[in-house]
């Protein structure tokens, strides 16, 4: 099998090709062509095939992570969208939840009011109404629908969202309107709210449908064009696109449901991190991807990656109610600016120097000290080896900027630089804490996977502050998303609101609904080209105590459900509630709110990476020089060895403190850690107790 993964990010397009028979991989990185991302992708694929000496027509699968949908939403450059909705409810997407995004602000903007996805003039209402059980209270007035379609067509609308109240439980009216649009205005891109995600809560569901409508035409055009442009290359494989749910979809499904692509690249990053950790036989993983402006954090356990709560997920200020990997992004990166604010507080980020002008040390005109400048001052980045020596850095500019900051803080230069690192690390540690400790996961049972250009530089110190015992640095930390693309399955999620009570369970309806969802998923996967025996089905139930508003997810036992299996399900829910909140109410009735079936079609995957070239530690050694570290509160200089990562031998044990350079990242090993190069090329870092901790442990052992 020959697979290509292409992840297009804002700055770089990363490509990876693997030949599973030859056990070989080739990687390639090119600048993203922002105006037409396909250009860099196509030329990158050609180069990659040349590197591997393969003809493009021999490629079996092409997998793609894209930011086209995300960028359209973030820059608010999408389609002219129209909406057909229930009479009397024209402004659900404008009023939202009637809460101001900021408590303490008169001058704030509300994104859905100042930048509506659908202008009010294009929100047309028709007579129809469904009840809460899906019963028809008012028939759909088709004459009004036809009139609305004609109006939208005449207004030049390209994309229409159909959003009716209570459609989550009965989609008949929405489906009928979609059918009428296809008949009378076949050029329009059509989205119905129930077809995207039939979950109750109208503002969130309607907005999700509107986002789909808003980014839809652009994404569809992009995918169609990409497909056409791939043909002349001789690529005959199917094109699969990464979705926010951690699975891929066929190009056709992706083009129909582009709102499911918003976290395409981020999800691939978490999967890549997960694959890295699993190569090192670690199941509980925190993926930590730190770049220039932000850090993305994902959690993976033995049961897979953690999914976001659909109702808590916001992108570009809008709620998005579809299944997504829980990727927590905070504004902390190598370019994060350190400064003293008007009240005298020492802050780092979220303001970023970005790539331009970038940190002061880039010498492109940045004068404020950034995180990278602090690393330069502390001698953790080396001018000769930054980005493989391909980019110049100017240490004197970093020192000047840091000295100015130090003067304002009344600290010495090195204390200020170390302070910048402490604050940014702490911001990231708090973000990790919110996804681990606060969710009932003990970080001491996890390994941190360090990804991105800056991740391996900060990971060990972040791990130390959270008592995470191990850090894994993959062989190529900078192309993890592309690698993640080659570790995924094709995946569909289907849900149905059930509202079943533990005190009066209707088992026959439950079993019927499960079978019905399963057969729908099977049908979809068959359409995607999978035989039933290749398909894996997972069954989940979102439950809550009757009256609560937030659900927790538990797995539904296999097979036909009987009373015993159901009571096992309730027990699982009580246990889950205890883990999540530290408390359960076992005497209270439980409501099974939503059934969910995930169908997976297995895709071929990236095998173990080929072993890295053989060398010796001596050959990899560059120099030994003094570097600053803070240990037990004391900032001191330590003699630190610098190595070239690519020449480190398998099994090589590196004595900390040390710095490892490679083209796309730098790994920092502070004192009291030890690291070893694993056969798969990963570096496994173990954190040893600090001297004081060791002393305390010894004393505790005596008593």
């Amino acid at each position: 099998m020959r697979l290509i993964g292409v992840d297009i990010g804002g700055t770089f397009t990363d490509l990876i090709l693997t030949d599973t028979e030859q056990q070989q991989i080739w990687i390639h990185k090119v600048p993203t062509t922002v105006d037409d991302p396909a250009i860099a992708m196509l030329s990158g694929i050609q180069t990659l095939c040349q590197m591997a000496n393969l003809s493009p027509d021999s490629i079996d699968h092409l997998l793609h992570g894209t930011t086209v949908a995300t960028n359209a939403l973030l820059t608010h450059e999408g389609a002219q969208v129209g909406m057909i909705t229930t009479q009397g409810y024209r402004d659900i997407v404008h009023i939202g939840r009637h809460q101001r995004p900021q408590h303490y602000s008169i001058m704030q903007d509300i994104p859905w009011q100042t930048q509506p996805l659908v202008q009010r003039r294009h929100r047309l209402t028709v007579t129809e109404r469904l009840g809460a059980k899906g019963e028809v209270l008012t028939e759909l007035n088709e004459a009004e629908v036809l009139e609305a379609i004609a109006t939208l067509k005449q207004q030049g609308i390209e994309s229409i969202a159909v959003c009716f109240l209570n459609s989550y439980i009965n989609d008949a009216h929405e489906a009928r309107v979609a059918e009428l649009i296809r008949q009378h205005y076949p050029e329009a891109f059509v989205t119905t709210s129930a077809s995207i995600f039939p979950q109750f809560r109208e503002f969130e569901r309607f907005t999700t449908a509107c986002i789909n409508a808003f980014v839809g035409p652009k994404v569809k055009a992009y995918i169609d064009r990409l497909w056409q442009q791939l043909q002349p290359l001789g690529i005959q494989s199917e094109l699969h696109i990464m979705r926010s749910n951690g699975g891929v979809a066929t190009a056709a499904v992706a083009a129909r449901e582009p709102v499911t692509l918003l976290l395409s690249g981020l999800a691939a990053g978490v999967l890549g991190g997960a694959a890295t950790g699993q190569q090192s036989d670690r199941q509980n993983l925190i993926t930590f991807d730190m770049g220039g402006t932000s850090t993305d954090i994902g959690i993976v356990t033995a049961s897979g990656f953690v999914e976001a709560t659909a109702r808590d997920t916001w992108i570009a200020g809008y709620p998005v109610m579809v299944p997504m990997i829980d990727v927590h992004t905070i504004g902390a990166g190598g370019g994060s600016i350190a400064y003293v604010d008007a009240g005298g507080a020492f802050r780092v980020g979220p303001k970023s120097a970005g790539a331009n002008p970038g940190p002061a040390c880039y010498g492109k005109g940045g004068i404020q000290a950034a995180v990278s400048d602090a690393n330069v001052v502390l001698n953790r980045l080396d001018p000769d080896h930054f980005l493989g020596g391909e980019m110049d850095i100017y240490p004197d500019r970093a020192f000047t900027a840091m000295q100015a900051l130090a003067d304002r803080l009344n600290l010495n230069l090195y204390e200020a630089a170390a302070g910048v690192i402490t604050i940014v690390n702490n911001n990231m540690a708090n973000a990790i804490r919110s996804r681990t400790v606060q969710k009932g996961h003990d970080p001491r049972q996890f390994a941190l996977v360090a990804l991105g250009g800056a991740g391996p530089l900060h990971a060990v110190e972040v791990a130390r502050s959270l008592s995470i015992p191990e850090v894994i640095v993959p062989r190529y930390p900078g192309i993890t998303s592309a690698m993640g693309l080659l570790t995924t399955d094709l995946k569909h999620d289907l849900i149905q609101n059930e509202f079943l009570l533990s005190t009066q369970p209707d088992l026959s309806k439950l079993n019927h609904d499960l079978r019905s969802l399963e057969s729908q998923v099977q049908t979809q996967l068959t359409a995607d080209g999978f035989n039933p025996e290749q398909v894996i089905l997972e069954r989940w139930a979102d439950c809550r105590y009757l009256g609560q508003g937030y659900e927790l997810r538990v797995q539904i036992p296999e097979g036909e459900l009987d009373e015993a299996k159901l009571s096992h399900l309730w027990q699982q829910f009580h246990d889950r509630h205890t883990v999540e909140y530290g408390h359960a109410f076992p005497q209270n009735p439980v409501e099974l709110v939503t059934l969910r079936i995930t169908g997976k079609g297995a895709m071929p995957k990236l095998m173990q990476l080929p072993p890295p070239p053989v060398g010796t530690l001596e050959q990899a050694w560059i120099k030994t020089t003094e570097t600053y570290f803070r240990v037990n509160g004391q900032l001191e200089q330590y003699a630190t060895q610098f190595f070239e990562r690519d020449r480190l031998p398998i099994g090589g044990a590196i004595e900390a403190p040390a710095v490892l350079f490679q083209k796309d990242s730098t790994t920092l090993l502070p004192p009291h850690t030890r690291a070893i190069v694993q056969p798969n090329g990963n570096i496994l870092v173990q954190l040893m107790p600090l001297p004081i901790e060791a002393k305390r442990q010894a004393i505790e052992a005596i008593f």
Binding site: G88, Y89, R90, D91, I92, H94, I95, G96, R97, H98, Q99, R100, Q102, H103, Y104, S105, I106, M107, Q108, D109, I110, Q113, Q119, R120, A132, L165, N166, Y168, F200, R201, E202, V340, D341, A342, G343, G344, A345, F346, R347, V348, L409, L411, G419, T422, I423, N426, N430, R433, Q438, F499, Y545, G547, Q548, G549, Y550, Y581, G582, H583, F585, N588
Partner: protein, 599 residues
């Protein structure tokens, strides 16, 4: 016996790095408390509307951090609750022990009003009291004279408002005080929901207690307290800088409450709120002298601590330290140090026990709005025109010998702002709750929301127009009752700097058997039959600046969006639009604007 921290404790110097690290840690403790409370709770007023608060206090009841979501009107009062608890305990000779959990809702002892129940846990390190973990939440029912906990507008005194808890121990030394819990269940409607919510509050407080102890364990108590003090000093400095930038002087404004428009007694309606702001360097005094006298037997009096002070603090902060315009200043007790509040005893803003206060929410928003009007004179680019006030409605009915109770908060709107139109259909000033999804209401209650959309043609005209309120219709599908408290049926939100006033709100009941009935902005428990519908109409915000200066293109956009009619475009803005082509007639517009500004 447990010992309390000496208030004179000398704290070590704190470096700026550690201060920042601890700021993040404290913040995340409060966030976790709130997050877990919202997710564990049962009633939609907490879990969907987010009408709750969570905070960590030091041993002197200073607020160190608050949960950034939830609502300001629940967050701000927390230090006052805890001070009220201490006062009540001292009066009764009670003491704290490790393992205690306190229940408190007394509005004359720091609570915001009775339904906002406070749960507090004293945090002990060994036997030393080092702080408090505290949550507040609005409960559906506290055993008032009629079902629900809003619209109890006929309560004649504090006793009629429901159960009063003054620092009652739900747990003592870790032992559950079972008799208190039994009493709660016996005296509160829909007790499963309410007691479940109280349990969720207790659990959230325990999370806060545990996390704060972990923090103290990691960094040492003195370091945590020193960092907290630095954070409060920081917030105080930021507030002082903002005040110092305003010109010294005295600035006054007046606002009016509808009060009880249907009451024959003239002293119960058209009630004045007087606000005088005095700026002296970096200090500010807010004087409410001139505000109407308290009403002895109607519950729109406002607790001085817990409502009036919060209305003032939240408004000042939102105007002077606007988080959209500057970086986030931690919300802690340092912010209020430069501010003094004066209100004569016996006025609406400082009532004397046992005057009832349960319906104080909307009057408090008028205090906030009037303060903003006074500030308009010194901070014209940071305020909005008059806001449309909110309404709070209780719907209930009997089922299986118990009650179902539902609380619905309908939003208001903001006035126009410098360079921006007002926000449409949002909660205003010190209130920032969320509505309950229609699909959630209809799936769980015998109610149907039959209309919910923006009002048209009603906003205050201005160079930047006022925001639009909404109309919301809710129909009973079985018999029951309802009650309502609101403001703004008579007094329209004010326009400013040449902007026109907005429009007042309204309340209407429709039923099959009789014609529509207009109701005032407050009505007590009212029986309903299946099919009866309550319509609430929000006031729409006041305009900012001369409407004749509004960009004609903006006027056209509003017409295209049906926010504005062609007639109003011409009448209010002197913009002439061709009804056939919907194009601006620029010549006619210029002529009309010239003739208008000439007169």
């Amino acid at each position: 016996m447990p010992t309390s921290l000496s208030p004179k404790r000398t704290l070590p110097a704190i470096d700026p790095v550690t201060a920042q690290v601890l700021a993040g840690a404290l913040n995340s403790i409060a966030l976790e408390m709130g997050h877990k409370l919202a997710r564990m709770s049962y009633s939609s007023i907490i879990r969907e509307s987010e009408d709750f608060g969570a905070a960590i206090l030091d041993a002197d009841c200073q607020q160190l951090a608050e949960c950034a979501y939830s609502t300001p009107l629940q967050l701000g009062p927390i230090p006052g609750y805890m001070r009220g608890v201490l006062k009540a305990m001292a009066e009764d000779g009670e003491e704290f022990y490790p393992g205690d959990v306190i229940l408190h809702n007394h509005p004359y002892y720091g609570a915001s009003h009775g339904p906002d129940i406070g749960i507090g846990i004293p945090i002990f390190q060994q036997d030393q009291l080092i702080g408090f973990s505290f949550t507040t939440a609005h409960h559906l029912d506290i055993g008032s004279c009629s079902p629900g906990s809003c619209g109890i507008v006929d309560a004649v005194d504090a006793y009629a408002e429901g159960l009063q808890f003054k620092a009652v121990k739900l747990y003592e030394k870790g032992e559950k005080n079972r008799q208190v819990w039994r009493m709660l269940r016996q005296n509160i409607r829909s007790a499963d929901v309410v007691v479940g919510d109280i349990e969720a509050q207790v659990a959230a407080c325990r999370v806060g207690e545990r996390r704060f102890l972990e923090l103290v364990e990691q960094y040492g108590l003195d370091t945590v307290l020193a960092a907290s003090e630095e954070l409060m000093n920081y917030s105080e400095r930021m507030m002082r800088q903002a005040i110092a930038q305003l010109p010294d002087g005295t600035y006054a404004a007046e606002g009016f409450l509808d009060g009880f428009l249907d009451d024959p007694d003239p002293t119960k309606k058209d009630l004045k709120i007087a606000v005088t702001v005095t700026i002296d360097g970096s200090n500010m005094t807010i004087d409410l002298t001139g505000t109407a006298p308290q009403i002895d037997d109607r519950p729109i009096n406002m607790p001085f601590v817990g409502t009036v002070d919060i209305a003032i603090f939240v408004t000042l902060r939102s105007v002077l330290l606007d988080t959209a315009l500057m970086e986030y200043v931690p919300q802690n007790s340092g912010l209020i140090r430069p501010i003094a509040i004066v209100a004569p005893k016996g006025c609406l803003a400082n009532p004397i026990y046992p005057a009832p206060v349960i319906a104080r929410c909307c009057p408090g928003n008028v205090v906030a709005d009037t303060l903003m009007k006074a500030l308009a004179q010194v901070a014209p680019h940071n305020i909005s025109g008059g806001i449309g006030n909110i309404k709070v409605v209780s719907y209930s009915g009997v089922v299986d010998e118990d009650y179902w109770v539902y609380m619905d908060i309908t939003e208001g709107s903001y006035g126009g702002r410098y360079g921006k139109d007002g926000m449409d259909g949002v909660d205003t000033l010190y209130a920032n709750t969320r509505n309950n999804p229609i699909e959630d209401i209809e799936a769980h209650l015998p109610l149907r929301v039959t209309r919910y959309e923006l009002l048209e043609d009603k906003s205050g005209a201005g160079q930047w127009r006022g925001g639009l309120g909404s109309v919301r219709d809710i129909q009973f599908l079985s018999s029951g009752q309802m009650s309502l408290e609101g403001e703004g049926n008579k007094y329209a939100p004010w326009g400013i700097f040449g902007g026109k006033d907005g429009t007042p709100g309204g309340v209407v009941v429709f039923s099959e058997s009789q014609a529509a009935i207009d109701l005032p902005s407050k009505f007590p428990c009212r029986k309903t039959r299946s099919g009866d519908t309550l319509r609430t109409v929000s006031p729409c915000g006041g305009g900012y600046g001369d409407p004749l200066l509004r960009d004609p293109q903006q006027v056209l956009e509003d017409v295209l969006d049906d926010y504005l009619s062609l007639e109003k475009a011409q009448e209010d803005y002197a913009v002439v639009i061709d009804p056939a082509t919907l194009a601006i007639d620029f010549a006619a517009t210029t002529a009309l604007r010239q003739s208008r500004s000439g007169t």
